[in-house]
Amino acid sequence: AAKGGGCPACGVASLAPGAQRDALLALAKQSILAKLRLPARPSAPRPPARGALLTALRRMRAQRSDAAASPGMMLRDGTGLQEYEILSFAEAGSSTPHSVRLHFRFSQEVAGSTEILQATLYLFWAAPSPGAQPVTVRLLQPDPEGPNMTVASEIRLEVQRSGWTTLDIGAAVRSLFGQDIPRFTVELEVPEDWGSPLPSERSDSHWPFVVAQARARTPHRVHRR
């Protein structure tokens, strides 16, 4: 260990080779976790189903090439600040014959140190019958004062046929990132005769997901005169 707070690698050179390697591996772990603002490595993750992941990556690539083609594409100014792209799959919540709730959760480490640039919700409709069908999508956030949830926004859609729909939820997620528990719920309400608006299994490649772009917050610069 470096004496007197010197550079972390300073004391390594004087160690025996085996101990030196261990010290460097420990230093690498500490350095990566510190830069990811993680207190420790995450416990064993629950990876998404392969089909759902491949579909999500394809949709993201399609969205990115569409954005690149559109003249109004938001060019990311080269601020040099660390940027994040987050892919979050829904967790199924409570449901009724014609509505379902989906939970999305973001990690404290990212939510607490970044600002949201963009967030998009991807939903797949398996419309059973032709013709326009009214669907309501509500964004619910935990109420800081109690166990209930508050409606952050409500969007009514006319779904003409089966397929993917994307919704810009940047504003709702931005407000959410300022809260203690960065998570929100999407409630889907469909006509009575539609049945559940969700694919039957989470392993289905049409499982809903959110893609968010975030950037490290600019460190507060104190200007002294």
Binding site: A28, K35, L36, S88, E109
Partner: protein, 114 residues
């Protein structure tokens, strides 16, 4: 920059690769398979201080000339990274979301004397 090798004692870049499988992190770090945690090591005697083309701003170069001129103030300069690049990571966070980020200045590509 110079890569360390053999019995070189002068300022150079020491390569050091951390294999995520070796440290048991391959389950939560999806890409890459490891991290090149290279570091700078070696001596920076006075005559190498501020040699042109190394990490020296004009101020540092002038300071080194002053040091070189007055032996009494002779102090070694330091062997530091002169060129670094980001580490791109794709990993699962604590809620099993998939996160992609580029951590700036994590990989040392070259070293030199201040």
């Amino acid at each position: 920059g110079v890569d360390c090798g053999g019995d070189s004692r002068m300022c150079c870049r020491q390569e050091f690769f951390v294999d995520f499988k070796e440290i048991g992190w391959e389950d939560w770090i999806i890409q890459p398979e490891g991290y090149h945690m290279n570091y700078c090591a070696g001596l920076c005697p006075l005559h190498m201080a501020g040699a042109p083309g190394l990490a020296a701003s004009f101020h540092t170069a002038v300071l080194n000339r002053i040091k070189a001129a007055s032996a009494a103030a002779a102090v070694d300069s330091c062997c530091v990274p002169t060129q670094r690049r980001p580490l791109s990571l794709l990993y699962y966070d604590r809620d099993s979301n998939i996160v992609k980020t580029d951590i700036p200045d994590m990989i040392v590509d070259a070293c030199g004397c201040t």
